[in-house]
Amino acid sequence: MQCLLLLCSAAFAYSQETLNAGDYFGDLKARHLGPALMSGRISDIELHPKNPRIVLVGAAGGGIWKSQDGGVKFNPVFDAHCQSIGALAIDPNDPDNTYWAGTGETWTRNSVSAGDGIYKTTDGGKNWIRSGLEKTDRIAAIQIHPRNSSVVYVAALGALWGNSDDRGVYKTEDGGKTWNRIFFVNNTTGCSEIIMDPANPEVLYAAFWEFRRTAYSFQSGGNNSALYKSSDGGKTWNKLESGLPKGKMGRIALALAPSNTSVVYAVIEAEKKEEKGLYRSDDAGKTWKFLNGDFELTVRPFYFSRISVDPANPDIIAKCGLSGSISRDGGKTFRNLGSMHPDIHDIVFDRSNSDKMFFATDGGVYRSLDGGSSMEMVECLPVSQFYHVSHDNREPYYVYGGLQDNNSWVGPSESPGGVEPGDWEPVGRGDGFRVYPHPNDPNIVYSEMQGAEVMWRYDIKKQEIKLIKPYPGEGSPKLRFNWNAAFTTSKHHPDRLYAGSQFLHVSEDRGAAWKIISPDLSTNNKSKQNQEASGGLSADNSGAENHCTIFTIAESPLTDQVIWVGTDDGNLQLTTDGGKTWNNLVKNIPGLPPNTWCYHVEASVHGKGIAYAVFEGHTQNDYRPYVYKTNDFGKTWQSIVTSEITTFVRSLQEDYQNPDLLFLGAENGLYITLNGGKSWSVFSNNFPRVAVHYLELHPTKNALLAATHGRGIIVLDDISPLRKINASLLNSNLSFFDSDVFVIDEKSNFGGRSQENQFVASNPTSRAQIRYFLPKRHMFGKMTAEIHDLQGNLVTKADAGKLKGINTIEWGFNATAPKVAKGKSLSFAGAPTVKAGKYLLKITKGNEVFEKQIEVVYGKNSGFTPAEREEQQQVTKQLFDFIQDLAYLVFTIEKWEEKANDFQQKQTKPNAGVAGLLNELSSIKNILVVTTGDNYVGTAEPKLREKLNDVYGSINAYPGAPSSTQKENILSLQKQFAEAKARFAKAESGSIQTFRKLLEKNNPAETFKVPDFGEYLKM
């Protein structure tokens, strides 16, 4: 029996260690701030072969987006999966439903994200299933047999950062259930492109590319890069050589003319400069002829190796590049494409109208309707790739961050009508990275571009830019800055800045002057500092491979003497005396491979010696997560990683109140722990599985800001309920969280100015959010919510949340609206706002009632005196009653009208007295409400009801005292109403009385009575 009890207790007991937090996030949802005005890198575009309304877009780090209107608006369709997209394909046999998505971008820049296999949907993108190739890391192309959907070929580029056998050409003949690697060159050479002859699907061309990236170098090209052709569905492959460059080759772009499949184009990265460029074959690959070596054809092959042929004309070809170019003479000459964001990665022609084209750039998707001359940007793709995020303390607060190839920006966390493109302001150029406001003056913004080539101090108000980058002094070695160079502000000295080259620099005057306060804190490994030789067959020394540099700087929020510094080559350094002495702690960290990039250090608010260190080794082809905690200034470290974290991580944010609540930014999304790292859960409530590069927590708003590298800034507006989730909540049917004081939002504005085709971020709610916890979803029996005053009067009803875990009741501080008189057209009188004070929320769940007292207060800076508010509330109440009195009078008149009409219809000859009564009632009603017209331009002249609702609305909407004009207007309306009431009173004692007697005479048993006011209000 004891065994049974143990079994039961094991099954049903919960503890903080076993609580699966992911089941209890409830209605805690993320909000996407975007923005989309600069959008982000797009890797692939596919068009439906027959329906030009359908457009699929694969983003470098922002998932898959589908348009059903020809590319005006897009919806994300892949949020639950890896957001790094390499290639998309639409099945020509079932183009409405079946798509394939190869994950892992293949434009292999330093910041590229990795993939986790190939996915397939058979319902147009609503559901996706992973269909294998999990270890291929990145997929460059997918070709589907045009008459047999089961046969699919995949070009697997494979691992970027290390050797791998999971690359080459893969084929499935059962629709993705099983795959065969049908062509493999070696573990350093991947298949970078595969194309199929649509006229003869047994004919395939494949480009192979030998390549490798490390944290400090890039190598494109080698003896194993080559072009191959198969004529038997991939069973055998022949190397194509006649007319092609000899020796080493790099990345190759390939395309075939659909209108003449003997015409094949290749753009080849060759060893010799004069052999780099465009080649054309007119005999299906047997022989090739060099045509053109223009800049746009040869520029950065690793980034731009794609060429497209007009589906109707074999001589019109478009080449991706820095600006992109197009030839209309079969490749002999090219002109640049129209003006769009640089760095073009894909170009597609509409098959039914090749003047209509789409372009994938580092700055989103562009459309052209004139064959590539004029461009129009798609403005609804928030796939921006942030490296970092910070915030200020304004109300509302603003967020700051820099993006891949898209400058640095500042934008508000909320704005009238939502956060629109025009709300964002540039605060830096180039590739943007870290951006900080001055801690006390948000008009001063610090920003930088790649490799700290420039660092700026920008005074937004004065429109004044000062360059503040640290320079080497006399006798100083060359300063090495990371591509994403480290700098930060101080929590203790508002004018202080820290910047990291290989040294830690400090400025006490907002960046004007700098001094070095450390030795070289990196490994200073000279073999990793030869960036000039980077690129392979095409030199590529952009600063992206700068190495042996400081990457993260964390000053303790508790003392300026403690500063943690992490380097990209795996050092973790600490000073406890403000930089006088330094100690490399990495030797104390168990289980950490050497030279693993120290990406982030979180210096804790909970103790000077407490810190978290996040390392990531993906540039060493190590995708495991490394997160450690120390409580003793780095002498000892404990891993807080569990098997629930499935890939590498970059950033950690601790909560400022609950030391066990931690947030982790991973390559595949956001993870949360409620127990200090004993278990982690993925947060997926409107949070895609996107790479999170940085996290920041607003200390007073409790807003978690995530800089995602593909989906812009994502915000959890209030994480405070997470602080309170623990296993004990599971034992109660309903538990309230400590949200009990709410500020009435009295702002008003005219909303925004954006168009339907633009991305606009929603605002956080301005309503009261009363939160509670349900251990289990409410499914059976009634569950309702009401708000009462402390005297027990019902103020209003509310929507009760019924989800498992966190639930929120939102209340707009409204009471109940007055009952408005019936009229021919509609007239609105909204609910008054409640007074500041205490209220009681009552939730009825089945037979149980749960109560929570809350307090409503006015904003500290509202600007209205108590006397003004009192007057506004009194007049609003007076008008509220007035509206209902008028409504009741109209109701009473109509009841008598009904009765009188009913009486007249039963008479053989209309009764003259009753007819007179009807005339009088109609005449009075015509004073009170409109009885003709509609709600638009056929509207009738407003009557008392409409005028009264108008003045009520204007007073109710403004918390200050009513104006003398408004008060005079009320007096006028009151006078008119009094006159109408007097007329009705006269009728009541006259013609109505006569009519009543007539009724009694006709039918003594009948007692006609108009419901009283109280009854009317309940109707």
């Binding site: 049974l4 059976f780 009634k782 609910a831 008054p832």
Partner: protein, 246 residues
């Protein structure tokens, strides 16, 4: 005791390894909500007072087993038909003119195609010729559900026949529908997923009815309709389904 523990384990293991077919899951759902008792339901009338920021709007929804339906609201004492379907045509009220207007021919056609679904498409999917498939299990707001794809007759949108697919999430524990989902085929939100989350199931005449329905766009805000009164087999004014004579 020695026998009891292996029995418990067997029970646990058996319940986890036995894969249910989609039909079994739907049958379990049908039983959970009343099964054959639904055959006796000829119509339903649902009433509530919608609370729009403190303004109370009485709402009445009537659904007939033959597919006819109407939704009417009362505002400023005026009762208006938001939308009605008379078996052939669907129509609604233009709030500018307060006059009835027919919906497009496509909308009427789509209403006719789904007219036989009462009380819902899942319950009679075989009879309706729809195809149901089990996509697996998925958590909805932390609650484990079966995810069922229901492929209905195509619908006509902007001149094209397009798939009409619903996804139903059935609570594994209680068997009832927790959420239904479908893609919006047209309009400003075209392509987005519309979701309806059900709760407050209560027994009425031997069948289970969800008194609460929170609807909205996936990942967006939702609006809850909490029905206060649900009646079955009531006398209905037949004229309310019909387009008013002008």
């Amino acid at each position: 005791m020695k026998k009891l523990i292996p029995f418990l384990f067997t029970l646990v293991i058996a319940s986890t390894v036995k894969a249910q077919s989609v039909d079994e899951i739907i049958q379990s759902y049908c039983q959970a909500v009343g099964g054959k008792n639904w055959d006796a339901v000829k119509n339903m009338r649902l009433k509530t007072n919608l609370n729009q920021g403190g303004t109370t709007i009485p709402v009445e929804v009537v659904m007939m087993a033959d597919g006819r339906s109407y939704t009417q609201i009362t505002f400023n004492g005026n009762t208006m038909t938001m939308r009605a379907f008379d078996g052939q045509k669907s129509w609604g009220t233009n709030f500018m003119t307060m006059a009835a207007e027919e919906e497009s021919a496509e909308e009427s056609e789509n209403s006719r195609r789904t007219a036989a679904e009462f009380p819902n498409a899942l319950m009679h999917y075989k009879k309706l010729g729809y195809t149901a498939s089990l996509l697996g299990t998925e958590k909805v707001d932390g609650t484990e559900c079966y995810k069922i794809k229901l492929e209905k007759k195509t619908m006509l949108v902007e001149g094209k026949e397009i798939p009409n697919i619903e996804f139903h999430y059935l609570d594994k524990e209680s068997k009832v529908i927790l959420m239904s989902e479908s893609e919006l085929p047209s309009g400003e939100m075209k392509g987005k997923l519309s979701q309806e989350k059900y709760s407050d199931y209560q027994e009425l005449n031997g069948v289970m009815v969800a008194f609460s329905n929170a609807s909205g766009i996936k990942d967006g805000p939702s609006q809850t309709v909490q029905f206060e009164k649900v009646e079955m087999n009531v006398q209905v004014d037949e004229n309310k389904f019909n387009f008013p004579k002008k």
